[in-house]
């Protein structure tokens, strides 16, 4: 019977695209089966933002001024929170070893996993942002800028924190270490993300900031998968 599979598929070259979609499908399916992983970062995001007015007071002017920073920092922290589990399960149950030994190039798998992670954790977060924006007294234009900047910025955050997660996956104390590793690298995204929103709040054009974020996104999509792959190899190598 082994022969039947072999004869059917012996000529099949692992194609990058099918590898990518296979990884993404599997991770999305897993997330769907374990829904709490998907929902908890979202709850965290909502709660941090909802608690903020309780800390600084409910004046609309103050909240409107702080809103971009608050939303962005909350998004940043919730990405950090969720990324710890990105490779950990695969490391613990041995599927990471299978991935490393497969003929599939590692960067494809890394890219697929990070994209799936972004779809699972960041997209819901972007979806609830309008509601939170209204609670922080943002106007329509500012809200739109927030959505655009999050849409471009959160994949970069996922990529960067995935590097941290891949480096620490073999260690028992991953969580805080990932934060220490990844937070300084977030700086450009945070700066341009919040600045786009602030510009929109002052009814200034914010296309420039979005263009920067787009450029960073292209950079991250190009290079981060290789760094993640190298980091995973190191982590598995030393098990």
């Amino acid at each position: 019977m082994a022969n039947s599979v072999m004869s059917d598929h012996s000529s099949v070259e692992p194609s990058l695209w099918s590898g990518l979609t296979a990884v993404m499908k599997r991770d999305l399916l897993l997330a769907f089966r374990q829904r709490s992983d998907m929902v908890n970062p979202l709850f965290f995001f909502v709660m941090v933002i909802a608690l903020f007015p309780l800390g600084v007071g409910p004046e609309p002017a103050t909240l409107r001024m702080l809103a971009p920073g608050v939303i962005w920092i909350a998004a940043l922290l919730s990405t950090l929170l969720s990324v710890d589990s990105l490779f950990r399960q695969d490391f613990d149950d041995g599927s990471l070893e299978l991935v490393l030994l497969s003929p599939q190039p590692l960067f494809v798998v890394a890219l697929g996993k990070v994209l799936a992670h972004w779809l699972i954790t960041a997209v819901p977060l972007i979806c609830v942002t309008p509601v939170l924006g209204i609670m922080l007294f943002m106007d329509g234009n500012t809200l739109l800028a927030t959505l655009y900047s999050l849409l471009l910025g959160t994949p970069i955050l996922s990529m960067i924190s995935a590097i941290g997660a891949a480096l620490t996956v073999g260690l028992r104390k991953g969580g805080v270490l990932i934060a220490v590793i990844a937070l300084p690298l977030y700086v450009p995204v945070l700066i341009f993300g919040t600045s786009a929103v602030e510009a929109a709040a002052m009814t200034l054009p914010y296309v420039g900031q979005l263009a920067y974020l787009g450029a960073f996104l292209v950079l991250a999509l190009t290079f981060a998968p290789f760094a993640i792959g190298a980091a995973l190899r190191i982590s598995v190598n030393t098990r």
Binding site: H9, Q34, E97
Partner: protein, 213 residues
Amino acid sequence: MQTQGLYCERDDRVLIRDLDFSLENGEVLQIEGPNGSGKTTLLRILCGLSEDYEGDIFWSGQPRARVDEAFRQGTLYFGHLTGVKAALTPRENLRWILQLKGITASAALNPLIDQALQEVGLFSYEDVPVQALSAGQKRRVALARLQLEPARLWVLDEPFTAIDRAGVAQLEQLVQQHAEAGGAVLITTHHALELTGIRKLQLGLGKGTWRIL
């Protein structure tokens, strides 16, 4: 597969020194040795999971690094951790593992997977999430890979763990068949394998000694 002058140390302890062996098609090599003698480490080095070694490894007469993709395509590694996801069903697990090998998930694949599951005694379990299965059954899900993945070299690390007696006999038979069909097998186990023409590589504890029987 061949090795030349393989040397490996771990935590300042020499596990393997100047290891030369060759494994031809149709051969089974059982690696023996007390706990801590480096059996698993050796297997991880041979299949490419660990890079902490010196010396050369050849595949089909060429340095392994040069034929990396062919090597990966032609090797099946079965380790202590099976890579089976608890939240997925056996069928989904196997389909994913095959996809990693570049086999596209066509409709024709499902009957093959079901048949393999049936042969490892998991008939009617194919759509139950793996977390509902027993430890032995989980191992069996992973063992179904042996019947599905097209690989010339099997690298099996303690495959008999948690498997019942009937399963052990079946697995032995599989290994025998694979060797007869021209495949090669590297295996670590404490079982006395009843296979014809099996060779043994004994690793000593301590100074990296070894001998081939």
